[in-house]
Amino acid sequence: MTWTKLLANKEAQRHKTSKKELDNMRALIARDLADASLAGLSADRRFATAYNAALQAANMAIACAGYRIMSKVGHHRVSLESAKLVLDKPVHNYADYFETCRRKRNTIDYTFSNVATETEAKEILVQAKRFYGEVEDWITKNHPALKM
């Protein structure tokens, strides 16, 4: 996967982000991470909400690199995969992990209930917070004008 191919396939477009746009995404992530911690919600809903926070964190990194993933079938998968083109290698394992979570989240949202276990819902919250932290560190280092 390369940006050239993603642009040619119209899976991504060039995009100039702003501090304001990133701050809106930060607020969305903060909301989702807080909601994913609510004990009263089902494991499925906490899982899907934490996944959404991680997806937005991937989109933040992509925006900082000057791109936006087009909203079409499979765009979550494209976001997670293309985050690897932007972030440093040690962070790539998160993309593989969230790709596993993406499929589970699809099942949760469209097919079955009681899919995520408590173990998985707790884990994704921890992983989403760590991943978001890595993205913010990467922004501070590579795009200081856009940092929190």
Binding site: N93, D96, Y97, T100, T117, E118, T119, E123, I124, Q127
Partner: protein, 207 residues
Amino acid sequence: MRNNVRNMRSSSMLTALFPQVRQGVLAATLGQPDKWWYLSELADRLGTSPSSLQRELSSLVSSGILVHRREGTRAYFKAETQSPVFRDLQQLFEKTAGLAPTLEQLLKPLGNKIQCAFIYGSVARSREHAMSDVDVMVIGRAGLADLSPALRRAEERLGREVNATSYSPEEFRDKLRSHDHFLAAVLRRRKQFLKGGQSDLDEIVGK
């Protein structure tokens, strides 16, 4: 220990019996016997070029182990399920390079983080079709983050989606005690163990 010996023997056994390319062709076609493989698809799966497969494929077709058909300029291949040696060959590959040995091998580096792991669902019940996903249940301290790299590698090797469900031993025990419908159904049906066995499962449950 017993599993380690089995895996080491399995891979060397196949290498002693078949050259690398033939192993790959047979593992793919016997692993999904209903599937018609397009030549370049098979080459892609094995990480080689279509031309390097030609000789093996012709030999396997002429010996009746594979069948082929043409659609326009495209040639498709699949296992000859009517062959008298089909089931024997399939069993040999299942034991050596099939789903369970591949997954066992890939999960092995997680060691004691996994207390018990097994395949369940249609694949475990041998009622899968060519594209059935593989469902794996993992009980222990290995979460999906630990499992994901192994799952990705398994998918690349097996050419099918592998989905895992992970439980801590405590959650697994608590859910079973509260008669969780899904878990009860999984445990009633056939399982293929990848790590541990029924006694380990009983131990987790506290039987």
